[in-house]
Structures are given as structure tokens and as C-alpha cells.
């Protein structure tokens, strides 16, 4: 068994929903959003672990909580086996040097009034006093590693293109030489041509600097290229975990199948009838009792509604975890053969044909 650099054990993060004064006085029970609801996940040394899911699946909250940007409601986080769940103050500062985050929005996360050397150098400065000249030379050193010229120290973020800003965010995370980088939607703001440049850079950096990545994204193509393993999240829980090739080529969980079948691919002539799930992601305030995907799942049986499936290991040569009662039965059914099983749009399609 490989060592985990970062591990979440049965992690919960709930956000309270604000109540009006009237509701407070009336003692209406407090509602919470179950953003992360019992997730156990290990990030191994030197690996890239992708977390995919749609908006509202809790993937960003999971990443932020594991990087200790949110305090977990329950559960624990371990860095090299040491519990870091309740650290604060200087002890927390110390682990920040090991875990860095690249934030989602490269426009919003860079202060428009600061110059490049100030933005990129800020984490280094926060770790301890550095003189201005030293800081500038460290920034000048790190910029070429992300593919930016080392001379642009006095530029402002608005002078950079979208890809350039994403590179700045990356440089800012790397300046303290972290072990773990949490990448929160690293490519969502970028066009395909620029995205390819950034993804290549990410993979190269991981090899050169021996980084571990926790990559949070809805972009399956990006995960396919960067990640070694992938975890699929749905409504605050993990649906499936496994090696990236296994999961993307042989998805076992019905949600993973649906997600992959819904991906539009630029292959001419591939416009077949597809496996569609109906309905939308339910609210996370009152998550369903049984399986969270049951309401949209074409394979639902009574057991799914009564009993929540645990994330269990599927026997095989490599680690594969699936949270589905019927994983063995439906795991091997290719998505194309699922058409017409339940969804009303597909039945309509087949009726016309």
C-alpha cells in the first residue's frame, strides 16, 4: 500500500443556511447544506488525483476543506499521517507551505492593484520575512518554470491574457515549493488551445518538482490527461474512485456512465442516440435517504431508496471503489446499450425512430 500524503477520513462539511429574524424567533430548525457528506479519500505521494463532478457536487468544498481553508464539520484530515484537522495559528501556517491552492477564477483571485512580484511573492512573504530584492529574485526564478518571462516582475495582472493569469496563479502556489497543490478548476476559464498549453505545463511541473495534485474540475478531458486516479463526486459523496483509465473507459457507477455519455466529443458523425439521465441535481439541504442518485438512475431498485450504498471495493487487480448496490450487475454494460432504459427523452427519441 502506498503512503498517503494527504488523507481525508470520513469528512463532513455542512454550511448553515441563513434564517430570517422571523424564523429565528419562531425557532424554525436550522437547515444545513450538506456540501461534503462523509468522504474518505487518500492522495498518494507524487500522484495526480482528479475529482470530477457537476456544480453543486461539493468538489470545491472538498478541496478547500482538505487544504484546511474550511474547517470540517466532522471527520479528520491527515498530512503524512499526522492529524491536521484542528491546527491553527503558526502550526497551520507551517502546513500551508506544504499545501497550496490554485484558485478557480484567475481574474478574481489576483489583486489588480498589485504587481506581479508582489502577487507571486506574497505566499513566500507570509511564510517569514524576506527582503524585497530576495523576493524579486525568487519570483524571477519561478516565473520561467510556469512559462512566463522572468522580466515581467513589474507588470499588473490585467496586462496578461487568461492563460497568462492562470500561469501567475500557478507560480504563486509554487513559490513556497509545496508538496501538494490543490488545483481548483485550473482550465475552466481557458480556451482549448490555451488549455492544452497549461495542461502540458502542469504535467511537466508535476514530474520536475515531484508534486502531488488534487485536481478539482468538471472538465473530463483535462482530468484524463493530467490525473493518475480519479474520484467522481455526486451530491457531497463519492460515487466512484479508481485509476483514470479504468474509470473513464469502463465506468461502473450509473452516474459516471451518464456523465461520460453526456460529454460532447468533436468526432464527426458520432451523433448517436445517447444514454441520458433525466432530472436535475436535487437540493443538498435535504439529501435523499437512500442512494443520492436514485431519483435519476435508470437502474433503481427498491433497495436503492431504502439503503444508502457504501463506497465499497470491487475485487480486481487494482483498487476500484464504487458506491452502488448493483455495481457488479451493471458495471459491464456499455453506455450505448443503456438507451431507452428509463429516461423520457430517450423513449421519445426511440418512438420517433
Amino acid at each position: 500500500m502506498m503512503d498517503a500524503v494527504l488523507e481525508a477520513r470520513d469528512l463532513y462539511k455542512h454550511f448553515p443556511v441563513s434564517r430570517s429574524l422571523f424564523e429565528t424567533v419562531q425557532r424554525v430548525p436550522k437547515d444545513v447544506i450538506h456540501a461534503v457528506d462523509g468522504v474518505s479519500l487518500r492522495l498518494h505521494a507524487g500522484e495526480a488525483l482528479g475529482v470530477i463532478g457537476e456544480s453543486g457536487s461539493g468538489k470545491t468544498t472538498l478541496g478547500w476543506t482538505m487544504a484546511r481553508l474550511h474547517d470540517p464539520t466532522r471527520g479528520s484530515i491527515r498530512l503524512h499521517g499526522t492529524d491536521i484537522t484542528n491546527l491553527h495559528g503558526s502550526a497551520l501556517m507551517a502546513i500551508r507551505r506544504k499545501i497550496q491552492v490554485v484558485f478557480q477564477d484567475p481574474v478574481g483571485s489576483l489583486d489588480p492593484r498589485l504587481r506581479v512580484w508582489q502577487i507571486v511573492g506574497e505566499p513566500a512573504q507570509a511564510q517569514g520575512h524576506v527582503t524585497r530584492t530576495e523576493l524579486r529574485s525568487r519570483v524571477a526564478e519561478i516565473l520561467p518554470t510556469v512559462g512566463l518571462p522572468g522580466e515581467g516582475l513589474d507588470q499588473y495582472p490585467h496586462e496578461f491574457s487568461g492563460g497568462g493569469r492562470q500561469r501567475l496563479s500557478l507560480a504563486r502556489a509554487l513559490i513556497v515549493h509545496p508538496e501538494i497543490v490543490v488545483l481548483d478548476e485550473p482550465t475552466s476559464a481557458l480556451d482549448v488551445a490555451v488549455q492544452a498549453q497549461i495542461l502540458n505545463r502542469l504535467v511537466a511541473l508535476q514530474r520536475e518538482m515531484g508534486l502531488s495534485y488534487l485536481m478539482i474540475t468538471h472538465n473530463v478531458a483535462a482530468v484524463r490527461y493530467v490525473a493518475d486516479r480519479v474520484a467522481v463526486m455526486y451530491l457531497g459523496k463519492l460515487a466512484e474512485v479508481g485509476r483514470v483509465r479504468d474509470v473513464l473507459e469502463h465506468p461502473m457507477h450509473p452516474y459516471t456512465k451518464a456523465l461520460l455519455a453526456a460529454l460532447p466529443t468533436p468526432v464527426p458523425g458520432r451523433r448517436s442516440a445517447r444514454y441520458r439521465v433525466t432530472g436535475e441535481i436535487p437540493t443538498m439541504i435535504h439529501p435523499p435517504v437512500g442512494c443520492r442518485f436514485a431519483a435519476r438512475c435508470p437502474f433503481v431498485i427498491p433497495r436503492c431508496i431504502e439503503e444508502e450504498p457504501a463506497l465499497r471495493s470491487i475485487p480486481g487487480p487494482v483498487e476500484r471503489l464504487v458506491a452502488c448496490h448493483r455495481a457488479e450487475e451493471i458495471g459491464d454494460v456499455p453506455p450505448e446499450e443503456l438507451v431507452g432504459s428509463v429516461s423520457d427523452t430517450t423513449t421519445r427519441e426511440s418512438m420517433r425512430a
Binding site: R224, Y225, P266
Partner: protein, 380 residues
């Protein structure tokens, strides 16, 4: 072959702002055949949204300025129309769906009121109260085979003087209106339309809001629907639902669609023809399967190749060096030449290759703006 429903000729649009003149569109020329879906694909800032907005004249002028060109919609030169006649091209002629449905819906009104407004205007027209016949803009039924004529389009008056009063409530029974609104909600597969009607936009999910927008756009029975990144703000499974819905509706309502997207996959899914834009130029246009299988412009080829389809063990992703040029300081000649693997001296010198029938292409109507289009196939 039917007359084109939309014909854009040599369209050039600039934005004049403090920092200079930005050439958002340059000499864009293409045609849309009725009943087909034309896709426009390109990266951020390539001018695809400017193109979409210039068809129903939704550009803000200034800063935008239409420097040159013609937009023929069913034989009507839209750019030559006086402003007060534009409402007739919009709605029953051209409808539009935008990227962020939350920005297009009024947060202060219930769904019913917003949909009813569109339905009411359309019903007024159908009832002859607001004449559309006289300007030849009634929705054309392509199933009958005849192509739309539009030459005499703008002769008659199009709205009675008291048009404003007709558009208000009163003349139509509310029950009738309500039935129609419910009908449109069912058309976009909303399961519980009675409840939805009473809600405000913020109470709906993104996918639901986009369905409402589609219902609104279709309630005018447009002959051309322009969809500007309609699913880019949606999640993958919801996007798939909306795309399936749009494909089904296309057959039911018989409308032509101009589909704008940055996503090559979505375009492959939806479009019959595709136009590829780069820095304000339409660099390639043709049947989608042909363009994707045999791109004839080096930019199209590079764009298609940069979609990640491989694992990292398979080596680095092919990527296009450099970045998109600044639209106020475009390079001389072909705008793509500084990044182009095929670039030669002539590419920088000449005024830029025109969009013409691609050499070596077996399919008619496959056009590319490249001097060396026959060499693109040999590019790695």
C-alpha cells in the same frame, strides 16, 4: 435549392473605444440554407458573438460600427432597415437565446408574465392586429417546398398606429393566453408547467431557465433562431438534456438555427455546417463532418488537435504556440501567419487570403481562407 435564409456578405464590424479601433469582424461571408443548423466556433474574442448580435442588429452602436457589408435575412437587407422597423425582424423573424438565462429574464416578474408577453405579441400578429403579412415576415413553412420570397418585403405598413395599445392586455382572453403559455412550456418538456408559471426566475435551476428562454424564443415562431453559447453555463448532464431538446424542437418547429459555441464537441453534436472563426475572420466554412475530418485551414486543424483526448503516458498534448493577436493591432496579411506552420512570405505580404472553395476538397461548399489549403492535410 431554396434561397438562403441568411446571407452575410463581406461584413466588417469595428469597436471604437478609447484604446483604439478593434476589428471584431472582417469580411465575413457565408450563407445559411433553410432548415439546417449552422455552427460558428472559435476562441474567446474571435468575433462570434459580434456576428450573432449583428444579425438582428443588437449591437450597441457606438461603440460598435458596421463598417461594411450586408446582412440579408430572407431577402431583406437588415442593415439598411430604419431602426423603427427592426422589431419586425426580431421575434417572428430572428429570435435569440443567450448564454446566461438569468441575465435575460426579468427578476421582478413571474415566468408567466414574461412568457405571456411574447405569446401575446405573436397572437396579435396572427390575429392580423399587427400585420406581418404585408412585410413578408410570416414564418415560412419549408415543408411545402417553396422557397421564401422577400423582395417586396418592406412595402406595406407593419404595425397599426395604435400598436402599443394592442400589445397590452385586454383584447385577448387570459385563459386563451394561459393555455398557449402552458403549451409552450410543455413543448420544452417542462413536467409541471402550472407550478413553474408562478415562480420567479431565481427559483429555477440553470437548465430550467434555459428551457424557459427557448420557449420564449420559439413562441414567436421564428424562422431563424440564433443560439449564442446556450449551454456553456450548464452542467454536462443538463447540457446534454438541453441539446437533445433543441434537436427535437428543430424538427417540430421547423426553424433554422445559427449555433454559436466555443465547444467543438457541442458543434459536432448540433450543427450540419460549421464556420470556424479566428481574430475576426471566418477562416473555414463547410459541412461539419467534412470540416472535422478534413480541415483545410491550419487553424482549424490546430484547434481540433488541441482538444485533449489522451492520457499523459501518451506524451504531451499537441498545442498551438503563441496567442491570439490583439484585435486593434492585427498582423499584416493573413492574421494567422505568425502562428502558422505553413506560413511563407506571401502570407505576411498579401492582404490576406479570401474564403474560397478549398483546393483538394471533394465536398462542394467546403471553403477555406488559406493559400495552401491543400497542404493542411499533410500537417502532423
Amino acid at each position: 435549392m431554396a434561397d438562403p435564409i441568411l446571407k452575410i456578405e463581406d461584413l466588417s464590424v469595428d469597436y471604437e473605444v478609447g484604446a483604439g479601433t478593434f476589428h471584431a469582424l472582417q469580411n465575413v461571408t457565408f450563407e445559411m440554407t433553410p432548415g439546417r443548423v449552422a455552427g460558428i466556433v472559435g476562441e474567446t474574442g474571435c468575433g462570434k458573438s459580434t456576428l450573432a448580435h449583428s444579425i438582428p442588429r443588437l449591437l450597441r452602436e457606438p461603440p460598435a460600427r458596421i463598417r461594411r457589408g450586408k446582412v440579408w435575412f430572407r431577402g431583406i437587407d437588415v442593415l439598411a432597415l430604419p431602426k423603427w422597423k427592426l422589431p419586425l425582424v426580431r421575434g417572428t423573424g430572428v429570435s435569440m437565446i443567450f448564454q446566461e438565462p438569468i441575465n435575460s429574464l426579468n427578476p421582478a416578474y413571474r415566468i408567466y408574465d414574461q412568457l405571456a408577453e411574447a405569446v401575446r405579441i405573436r397572437k396579435m400578429r396572427d390575429a392580423g392586429r399587427a400585420s406581418t403579412r404585408s412585410i413578408g415576415l410570416e414564418p415560412h413553412d419549408y415543408s411545402k417546398g417553396a422557397s421564401p420570397t422577400a423582395a417586396e418585403a418592406l412595402k406595406g405598413p407593419f404595425l397599426p398606429r395604435s400598436g402599443g395599445r394592442f400589445l397590452r392586455k385586454g383584447r385577448l382572453s387570459n385563459d386563451e393566453l394561459r393555455d398557449d403559455v402552458l403549451e409552450y412550456l410543455r413543448l420544452v418538456r417542462i413536467n409541471d408547467p402550472e407550478t413553474i408559471l408562478q415562480l420567479y426566475p431565481h427559483e429555477l435551476s440553470g437548465g430550467m431557465r434555459q428551457r424557459i428562454m427557448i420557449a420564449m424564443a420559439l413562441s414567436e415562431k421564428p424562422s431563424l433562431l440564433i443560439a449564442d453559447e446556450p449551454t456553456s453555463a450548464l452542467d454536462i448532464t443538463i447540457q446534454a438534456q438541453v441539446l437533445t431538446l433543441m434537436k427535437e424542437l428543430m424538427e417540430e418547429v421547423r426553424t433554422s438555427i445559427l449555433f454559436i459555441s466555443h465547444d467543438l464537441g457541442v458543434i459536432a453534436e448540433m450543427a450540419d455546417d460549421v464556420g470556424v472563426m479566428y481574430a475576426g475572420h471566418l477562416v473555414e466554412f463547410g459541412p461539419v463532418d467534412e470540416v472535422y475530418a478534413q480541415p483545410r485551414h491550419p487553424y482549424t486543424k490546430a484547434l481540433l488537435r488541441s482538444v485533449p483526448r489522451q492520457y499523459k503516458e501518451d506524451g504531451p498534448l499537441p498545442s498551438l504556440p503563441g496567442s491570439v493577436p490583439n484585435l486593434s493591432r492585427l498582423p499584416s496579411g493573413c492574421t494567422f501567419h505568425p502562428r502558422c506552420p505553413l506560413a511563407r512570405e506571401v502570407c505576411a505580404r498579401d492582404p490576406g487570403p479570401p474564403l474560397e472553395e478549398a483546393r483538394g476538397s471533394v465536398v462542394a461548399g467546403h471553403r477555406a481562407a488559406c493559400y495552401f489549403s491543400e497542404e493542411v492535410a499533410s500537417l502532423a
